[in-house]
Symmetry: C2
């Protein structure tokens, strides 16, 4: 049968390529010949070649990189959850004096901080298009600078965000959305409306230092819930912490959280939302990374599984449109009225001009294509950074096969203290974030976070190579 | 002697004009003949006429209105401090449920709210010039939208604010200044760094509802210190409250505070700063109105008398450049490091583009001339609103001779409840702010605040006239 024939043909081709990979004729990171070349070499039809490539992709032997072709995949380097965080910690008052002392020490003389701060390359943002919208708006309505909005968010922007919520598996009305001065403010106000000073908040470990900071200044205690660098939050550990009682709220992130860029399964998200609702513990969700997925599908946030209004969804546009915008938003479920009251009481409204500018950009049909390009670029960039770490860092270094975002979390051999590594790297003008910054208790001392948001340049390549060299010396 | 002769001549002319005013030939609000006409009528030199006019001005019989000439002054209608606030109140937890219920009731169906919200007419703001600076900046540096500032405030803006501080009787270095998302945030963070929930804060009565709001959501208690609608805070009453003990901080305003636009004497400011420093009670100063003086001289803030770093000076550029900017700043004395830490922990940075835009406008030499024009316009406008109140409101209504700002505080005859007046005015689409909004304890029930920031139009005139008519019916 022709069908069987074709099946055999692409299987044979796939086996052939797999054999070359296994024998090292094609090495991890190597680019495969193009479809056209493969057709010629193997005298096969484009359909057969494409089929064979998809089969290899399904078996994780190769990977497609947008506009670059197919590459031999490096072996996934999954890392186990760090041992020191196997069970939830005990409630602790947040005291970051030591973190800040280290941060001050490490920030001295920062010049070009490519690898340290978690930042997307400004060159990747649609600044020129945004600027054009802004100029047009300001010319048409100069009063945008002269008046504020009485409600909490410009209608046009809230409508765009609501329209887009179906992509997230949600279906918000514009009235549910409140615009904030960035995501940090959204989280801080969400904490304010759900808890009070002294209350215990469950967070992931590792988690972003800015989350630890807000908990410190707001006088909350924390319980650190272990979180796998690939699969995210341990829901079992969360359940243990909830059974112990006394948790007033959670601040959690399901999609590509800082610093690990892990991704929870839909089942784990669903279970988290269900048990928190059952325990009547509000869930403050940080989903700033959610749109930066490298896979086929926008991963749903916790909020998509929430039918009790127990989830306060916090995100922003600054991460994806430009750090200089300070535009965040929140869908605060049953806390909506309280949230709005606190927000208007402690801060002036978010500039109308920036809100309208973002709305105009989202409305114009450029937004999703732009995001697609951004995701592809970041995926390529992150893969290239990962390859460099694999090439230069000591044997035993493990880096997850990041499914989204622009950060890399690396676990170095246990004897390497990354704070010491940072000290050694300072004279070379190299900054990164040592693992201990992401945990309140002492932990992750042999881990580090590298920002992979800047387009790779020879200077950055040299910095990563130097860092690997220094790590070798410490190993 | 020629000198004596001239003295006699202008004195005679001044007496003549004063006599006409006294006999009612020139009525309050009437425009005097121009200097040229007076020269002709009285066959006097311009110098003599000018001398005579200044003499009458010194005696408060006439007033100059920029670009309009001299007008017979209405008799100053000074108001006594309301009796219910003669001594400081006792510490109370702030509970604004009743205020908010009323506010919701009164805001229903707001369409054009000229008299209610405290706002300067958007037409008076330099939006076109700002927009030009913004467009130029964004074109030259599109990255301004894509990157944030790591420190708390753009250097260029802080330098402009520092340079300008000499006008305030201060001499700040750019490093002392932190830029915030508006003045409300500055006050909220200042409260955060100086006090904790449950602490007692001394505020003026009446004081701005936004101050009461932030104290409510931050869980602070208040002691209300009586404040004269003309001379401002009663320092004696403040001293009594301090002697009682337990005051953790003060939020006070010396120059044209909302709602009364009173002005404290320099001596009273000095004394306030001194006794607070002696009691080690930090003073959070709100000086948003300070630049809107109608007199010759920028009145100094409390901060000008502070030599211990005990005053946290909060102000903004939004009030004078455009409400849509949400640009505030703080000089936080010995709390600077704590302030910066809290600010960066709870909120994303202030958009760099807006900071640079404001800096460019201030740098360009247009700023002070613009402010002069704004002050003159507001002075004329406020005077015209005051005349309309005097004309239409019941006998016994008292309005202060506001020395700055854009708000009018009126005390109506005691039997008139201004909340009821607001209810009656709603069907006519008229909104104002009833006195009880400005006090935590029940108070100022016969007072109201009118926004006089919008350029007077026939529609606004008609609204004030209607309000007077409704007040007559209630009287």
């Amino acid at each position: 049968m022709a069908g069987t024939d074709a099946t055999v043909r692409y299987q044979v081709l796939a086996d052939d390529l797999a054999g070359r990979i296994a024998r090292g004729q094609l090495k991890p990171g190597d680019r495969l010949p193009s479809v056209r070349e493969l057709c010629r070499i193997h005298t096969a039809s484009p359909a057969t070649v494409t089929h064979a490539l998809h089969l290899l992709e399904d078996h994780s032997l190769i990977e497609a990189r947008p506009r670059s072709g197919f590459f031999v995949r490096r072996k996934p380097r999954l890392i186990a959850p760090p041992e020191q965080c196997a069970t939830p910690g005990l409630p602790q008052t947040v005291e970051l004096a030591e973190h800040h002392r280290l941060l001050m020490e490490f920030r001295r003389g920062i010049d070009r901080d490519w690898l340290g701060r978690a930042r997307i390359d400004p060159a990747l943002y649609p600044s020129v298009a945004l600027q054009r919208h802004m100029t047009q708006l300001a010319r048409r309505e100069p009063n945008l600078l002269a008046q504020d909005v009485s409600a909490n968010g410009d209608r046009a922007l809230c409508e765009q965000l609501a329209r887009r919520s179906v992509l997230l598996g949600c279906d918000w009305s514009p009235d549910e959305i409140l615009v904030t001065h960035g995501e940090t403010q959204a989280i801080a106000i969400a904490l304010h409306v759900t808890t009070k000073p002294g209350d215990v908040i469950a967070i992931q470990a590792p988690s972003h230092m800015s989350q630890l900071n807000v908990l410190e200044v707001e006088g909350r205690q924390v319980v650190e819930i272990p979180s796998h660098p690939c699969d995210g939050l341990s829901v079992d550990a969360l359940e243990i912490a909830l059974e112990r009682g006394n948790i007033a709220a959670c601040v959690l992130s399901a999609n590509f959280p800082n610093p690990t860029c892990s991704l929870m399964s839909d089942e784990a998200k669903q279970r988290t939302v269900t048990i928190l609702a059952a325990h009547k513990v509000p869930l403050i969700e940080d989903d700033t990374g959610g749109d930066l997925y490298f896979g086929e599908r926008r991963p749903p946030p916790f909020k998509a599984f929430d039918d009790t209004g127990n989830v306060l969804y916090c995100s922003d546009l600054s991460t994806i449109l430009g750090t200089g915008l300070s535009l965040g938003y929140v869908v605060s479920g049953r806390y909506r009225i309280a949230f709005e009251h606190v927000q208007t009481s402690i801060c002036d409204p978010v500039p109308l001009l920036f809100q309208r500018m973002a709305a105009a950009f989202m409305e114009g049909g450029q937004f999703e294509p732009y995001l697609r390009r951004l995701r592809h670029t970041l995926a390529d960039n992150v893969a290239a950074y990962r390859d460099l770490i694999a090439e230069h860092f000591p044997v035993g270094t493990r880096v997850a096969d990041t499914p989204g975002g622009y950060l890399l979390w690396a676990e170095l051999p246990r004897q390497i203290d990354t704070a010491e590594l940072q000290r050694q790297a300072l004279p070379h003008g190299i900054h990164f974030a040592p693992g201990r910054f992401f945990c309140h208790q002492r932990g992750f001392d042999n881990c580090l976070r590298l920002n992979a948001g800047h387009l790779l340049t020879p200077a950055i390549e040299a910095s990563i190579a130097k860092l690997g060299e220094l790590a070798h010396e410490l190993a």
